[in-house]
Subunit: 118 residues, 2 copies
């Protein structure tokens, strides 16, 4: 499998809160410990409260502005914000802009886990 992926050559898939593309995953490059995606939270959209019981997550914001809420604590996020979510922590990511996407690199370890609505 290819070991160098070009972001622009991978197509987005639609999800409830926007668009996402898997760059590094078991099915793209054979990773076992890590997954890397690009996600765009579309204007006005929210990835509602949920948690992953066994998976750590990092949201590295590339562009746009929004709110991250982890365990009930809220913080503004924008370019250069890096959010860490421990396994089992309920969290929400919201794009409060009505015009611009909130674009971020999403990193998960291990690559796959349940998403539990809380």
């Amino acid at each position: 499998m290819s070991k160098i992926v070009q972001v622009d050559e991978v197509e987005y898939e639609e999800v409830e809160w926007g668009l996402t593309k898997e760059l590094i995953a078991p099915q793209t490059v054979g990773s076992k410990k890590i997954k890397v995606k690009i996600t765009e939270y579309l204007p006005g959209h929210t990835h509602k409260l949920h948690m992953h019981p066994n998976q750590e997550e990092v949201i590295f914001v590339l562009s746009g502005k929004g709110i991250a809420e982890i365990q009930g604590e809220r913080g503004e996020i924008g370019p250069g914000s890096v959010v860490f979510i421990s396994a089992g922590e309920p969290h929400i990511t919201s794009n409060l802009s009505q015009s611009e996407s909130l674009k971020a690199v999403i990193i998960k370890a291990p690559p796959n886990d349940e998403e539990v609505q809380t």
Copy 2:
């Protein structure tokens, strides 16, 4: 510990091939499965051939241009290139520019491992 880190608020440390800053790590946010850094490979510098026996690595290029070599296969990298290195694979990252840094998000799982010169 803080769960939202701002890239610009973390200072760089000097390493042999450039500058690096740890954003997400056991000692910064208490992560157990993942480490996220920003690294700048300075103009003309190379992180020479090495491998991590048990750790997967992803290099997500933000700016600049260089060469990634994994298991002897070479590829050009620039903004939007995402390199995946399996555990145990010998690899080299070089900045061939004489004027511009090669800046990348470095992701590792698990967070810590040996660096073995090969």
